[in-house]
Amino acid sequence: MALSSSCYLHALRGIVVREVLRFIKQRERFVASLVRPILWLVVFSAGLRGSLELAPDAFYLAALSSPRQFSYEMYLLPGLVAMIQLFSGMQSALSMVFDREMGSMRVLLVSPLPRSYLLFCKLFAGSVISLLQITLFLLFASFFEVGINISNVLLALPLLLLGGLCCGSIGLYLSSLIKQLENFAGIMNFVIFPLFFLSSALYPLSNFQEGSPLLYYLAQLNPFTHIVEMLRHALFGELKFGAVVYVSLCFAVFSALASRGYNPSRGMMKKKFS
């Protein structure tokens, strides 16, 4: 008997509920996910505010009543939102490696639903968790003058989901390559920091252009740069179409690679479940 569309929805709901329950029950992870961006917003921006001279882009000016309202915190905020998604994506990938090591992934893989769909459900669940984290972070950030209004955040929700899916797919692809849990922590740092620092999360890409053209081009290739820019524009009420397309393409490519990696006849699974 073929599976009905409601079966797909039940599975999606079940996976999201499971991941959210796990996230809530892991209190240390919950707290750490909030403390990290808060520290960056409070401490890092205070330290760097004076040394960076930023000219607000047009979309900032359109959202603000005066250019003097523009602050470094305002520039930094979308980068920190994207950082939450990046860490959340890597955390989801870590949990995939853990599930594979502990055996609970087999329960997922003997489901009658297509594996590619199940992997998408995992990505979606990770993205929902990152949205929960972002909501709490934005609540905290609203005490600072960061220029975010709720209607823009609500309009940006689909793009926040897309950013979460893209970060999750990068993590999922990495998890399909890594054999052991112990290796993953090192790989996470090896991936997270270059992605984060080689992007426009902390400073505009024009700063790279002046310092090193090579780094500038690498930053332009970096999917995380486009996630940050997509969110930066979206959170201030503008759609950056090119970034949305680039992020969507990266999501499609990394998802396809991850799906291939979790295929029993190829990639990691061939070695893992033997």
Partner: protein
């Protein structure tokens, strides 16, 4: 005439360059209880992962209820319940949450589920542990929970890969009896892998896996009669004698 619940023909499987399963033939009829008996490292888990579609095999065919197993055939997987050798519960989730997660992966909705969960927990004596986390359960109860999870969608074929590992003799005996009762009451086909001969019942069909090949396929009583042995351990020793003198652990 109905198709076999499970039929494996000339299956070959390699891990890297090392052959693990060689020319495996196995047939399990609907409602039968089959025991895959073999020493540690005989290839039982590899065979199970191939049946579940978790491992790509090199040559041969695996059919479930007459249809080839291609790893992602949803109809076949709906008929399959699996208890893995390695515990696979979410220890931080409650008993009920573990069951709801597994049911969601089978596409079951909440209406069907509430009743099935309540009935299954009551049947296996876990009704009072419904809201406890899996971490709070003892080894025997965790195994029962895995059995409930594997049968929640009422599969026609149940695979259990060394499901009694780590259980004390009493809990082991109860678990074996529970699965036999399930097989008889619901006519569920069962393939149970073990290296413990005392888990085999007289009417079980015994597949001795040795050096990557299945050596037998008769019922335990028929095997004893055919080999003129008083016990299955003697049969096992005789069947595997040509290559090795060791026998599986007996408790």
């Amino acid at each position: 005439m109905s198709s076999p619940a499970l039929e494996i023909i000339k299956l070959q499987l390699r891990l890297g360059s090392r052959p693990v399963l060689n020319d495996i033939n196995l047939k399990l009829e609907p409602g039968e209880f089959g025991v895959l008996l073999g020493e540690n490292g005989a290839g039982k888990t590899s065979l199970f992962t191939a049946i579940c579609g978790l491992h790509h095999f090199d040559h041969g065919n695996i059919s479930l209820f007459g249809q080839p197993q291609l790893g992602t055939n949803s109809e076949l997987m709906q008929n399959l319940g699996v208890v893995f050798q390695q515990a696979s519960l979410d220890l931080d989730l409650s008993v009920e949450q573990n069951l709801r997660y597994a049911a969601a992966l089978q596409g079951l909705n909440s209406k069907q589920l509430d009743q099935r969960i309540s009935e299954s927990l009551a049947h296996y004596g876990l009704a009072t542990r419904r809201y406890d986390t899996a971490r709070e359960l003892n080894g025997g109860h965790r195994r029962r929970l895995e059995l409930i999870r594997a049968t929640l969608h009422q599969p026609a074929l149940l695979l259990l890969d060394e499901p009694t590992v780590g259980l004390d003799p009493g809990a082991r005996d109860r678990f074996v009896n529970e699965v036999h009762a399930l097989c008889e009451e619901h006519k569920t086909s069962v393939l149970w892998s073990t290296h413990l001969i005392d888990e085999v019942r007289p009417r079980d069909r015994v597949f001795i896996l040795h050096e990557g090949q299945i050596k037998t396929g008769q019922r335990a009583t028929e095997l004893c009669a055919q080999h003129e042995c008083d016990s299955l351990i003697e049969v096992f020793r005789r069947v595997t004698a040509s290559a090795s003198s060791s026998a599986p652990e007996v408790q």
